[in-house]
């Protein structure tokens, strides 16, 4: 395990997510629990964000169900390496379903950020981008510097998917920016914004 290297990675998580969401258009955003949800909220709390406060391992399959239900909308899953590691099997499920509108972005700081910054498997050499590629997701990239990150933003926003981007980010503790935590409220506001007030499903 390499306990030091991610402390000096150049990409910073809040700036990455802010830039990614600056031109989100009508994208639907699912955020995995912990720091990824705080990052998405720091970029702006929106009704079409669905930040998770639990359900670890569930961000990608939740994004998949949403992408299949809303094929005309871009679905962007933004999550952390620890959350992704708990649901690796869901990458295989995504690959078999091949939703063209789903993009998965992992913010990989090689740490469990909410529990004391313990190292995750990615600090020990586990390569999430390679796992996603081997699972059969057609477009997978690992990005670790600003120039490459900027170059992949249009892909993340527009390219035919499913896509998987592992963004190597600096390990850092940042001030919490918390979204609402009542799940029923998060669901209701999301559905109102997406489906409208008169939609009965």
């Amino acid at each position: 395990m390499n306990s030091e290297r991610s402390k000096s990675y150049p990409l910073r998580r809040r700036a990455v997510v802010k830039e990614l969401l600056a031109q989100r258009g009508d994208a639907l955003v699912v955020a995995g629990l912990g720091a990824a949800a705080w990052d998405v909220t720091a970029a702006g709390d929106e009704p079409l964000n669905f930040p998770l406060w639990g359900a670890m391992g569930g961000a990608v399959p939740l994004g998949l169900g949403l992408a299949l239900a809303q094929p005309s909308r871009r679905v962007l899953v933004i999550t952390g390496d620890g959350e992704m590691l708990m649901g690796l099997g869901s990458l295989a499920t995504v690959a078999t379903q091949r939703p063209p509108n789903l993009a998965i972005v992992v913010l990989d700081n090689e740490r469990y950020g909410e529990t004391g910054m313990q190292l995750t498997h990615t600090a020990g050499g586990v390569d999430l981008g390679a796992i996603a590629a081997a699972s059969g997701i057609p477009i997978c990239r690992t990005v670790s510097d600003k120039k490459s990150f900027r170059s992949v933003i249009p892909q993340i926003q527009k390219e035919v998917g499913p896509l998987f981007f592992n963004i190597k980010i600096r390990a850092e503790n940042l001030p919490l920016v918390l979204p609402p935590k009542d799940g029923a409220y998060l669901k209701d506001r999301f559905q109102l914004a997406l489906l409208g007030t008169n939609t009965i499903i």
Partner: protein, 175 residues
Amino acid sequence: MDSLESETWPEDIYQVLVENRVRQVAYVPDIGHASLIKMCHKSYNMKTMVLTTEEEGVALLAGAWLGGDRGVLLMQSSGVGNCINMLSLTRVCRMPLLILVTMRGERGEFNPWQVPMGQNTNQILTVAGVLTFAVNDKDHIKEAVEAAAKMAFEGPAATAVLISQRIPGAKTFGR
């Protein structure tokens, strides 16, 4: 398999799913669900997704619901244990969830590894906040799935129909 193929209850379940406008069918297979899974695969209105673990299905159907699709999750009783933490998503967000469970380890089970989950499926689901409908008679399956679907989608609530191993076609390996 012959006895399973000749049973009509899987068709009954399929019809209830159609009537309830179920669009996403997520499953980890069980022999008791084999006919139903085939029917869903053939349907033009249903998307089917095989999962690597049952908890994926809980999250997947939450996403489906957010996007306006109704779903159903098919599994055998051993899969219920794989779902527990993910069920907090359904509960905290007050979303519907319809689960159809074919039971193992319940009665006359030849595989002792199925017994710990099979003997406790109902209690575990209940503690996790899922309403359960246990069915021991094939003539009651349709009504149970109708009731579970109605309470799930109109609740919203998490509901599960537990289909007994005693029902013909739900047994496994001819034992």
